[in-house]
């Protein structure tokens, strides 16, 4: 069984290395600032003792006031997992840095989030709809979406 590393530990490590990168630390997850996401993720992937090399999923939640993109990483070496989140407050043009350079598996996941939630991933090599077709009106998983 994969154990979740306490977010506290991660947060203390991250904030020591990237001051001001952590927006909020919850019980089981950390909220990372969007501009420091690539650096933080790279640290989580490569740092000795962490080695979060496996990306479980990327998903997104619509909280009306902001969108939250949720990442879950697992370390196969240490058999632990961690969840961290990024918020984007703009509703018209929400955008988050892409992790495709770090995790290959992020490619389609980010396309899915873009397709259904309308969040742009900056630096994604091929950001276009993956389930729906070109010319589909709106982003159906947003709370205010209406056919």
């Amino acid at each position: 069984m994969t154990a979740a590393l306490s977010a506290k530990e991660i947060v203390s490590q991250l904030s020591a290395r990237f001051p001001g990168a952590i927006e909020e630390a919850g019980l089981d997850s950390a909220l990372v600032k969007s501009e420091s996401l690539p650096a933080a993720a790279e640290y989580l992937k490569t740092a000795e003792g962490l080695k979060y090399e496996y990306l479980n999923y990327i998903t997104a939640v619509d909280y009306y006031d902001y969108f939250e993109v949720v990442y879950m990483l697992t370390s196969l070496e240490y058999n632990r997992s961690v969840t961290f989140k990024v918020r984007c407050y703009s509703r018209d043009n929400p955008s988050v840095p892409s992790l495709t350079g770090l995790y290959q598996g992020a490619d389609w996941q980010e396309r899915e989030v873009y397709d259904l939630m309308g969040i742009t991933f900056e630096g994604h090599p091929n950001l276009k709809r993956i389930f729906l077709w070109e010319g589909y009106n709106g982003y159906p998983l947003r709370k205010d979406w209406n056919r």
Binding site: K128, R129, F131, L132, W133, E134, G135, Y136, P140, W145, R147
Partner: protein
């Protein structure tokens, strides 16, 4: 789409995506109303000439006894259809077991499963490629009306929005027995179709007193 000779690929990906989107939007716009179910089999027997009737009978017997199925399994009802084909239920007892990889050799389309708009043009193409005469069985709740996914953003609310449906088999998914029963109902329906058009009614000289 225009093709120039110096391209690496015939179509580029963005063009294909745009074209696909246009095809889906066009199909979606043109399928607001359900297509009425075929009613050629409803005509009364009385109108028939004896000779033509037996010709009809032979034609319909041949057609209904060799229903070859095109492959169209977008979702989970396909599992029940596979069970229908397998030895336990053995659809081949009724002459309906031959699956055709090409729709050009098939005359029955069993639509086993939820259809999304993205898939809809392909199903319509399968149907269009089947030679006449052809029949469609809408299998399962999703095939009939979209089922529990009816109000989804990407689901076709029933196959009869894009192709005419002859028999509806309800269930989620229907049992193999139900599907076999549905195919038998279709066979009964085919038995009543007239292959030859009506002849004009002539007054019968043997009947006196009546015109």
């Amino acid at each position: 789409m225009e093709i120039s000779s110096d391209r690496e690929y015939i179509y580029d990906a963005a063009e294909l995506d745009r074209h696909e989107g246009q095809v889906i939007e066009k199909l979606k716009a043109s399928s607001r109303k359900s297509i009425p179910d075929p009613d050629a089999w409803l005509d009364e027997d009385i109108k028939r000439n004896i000779v033509l009737t037996s010709l009809d009978w032979v034609l319909n017997w041949a057609r209904r006894s060799s229903l070859w199925t095109a492959v169209c399994y977008p979702a989970c009802c396909g599992m029940e259809w596979m069970a229908t084909l397998a030895p336990r239920f053995d659809a081949s007892r009724f002459g309906m077991e031959i699956m055709r990889a090409s729709p050009r050799q098939a005359d029955l389309l069993i639509t086993a499963g939820t259809l999304t708009w993205k898939m809809a043009p392909n199903v319509k193409r399968i149907y269009d490629q089947m030679p006449e005469p052809k029949w469609v069985i809408a299998m399962g709740a999703c095939g009939i009306s979209g089922g529990i996914f009816r109000s989804g953003y990407n689901v076709v609310p029933g196959y009869n929005k894009i192709i005419p449906v002859d028999v509806y088999v309800p269930g989620c998914p229907p049992r193999p027995e139900a599907l076999i029963y549905g195919i038998q109902q279709l066979q009964k329906k085919i038995a009543k179709i007239k292959a030859v058009p009506d002849l004009p009614k002539l007054p019968n000289p043997l009947k006196k007193g009546k015109k």
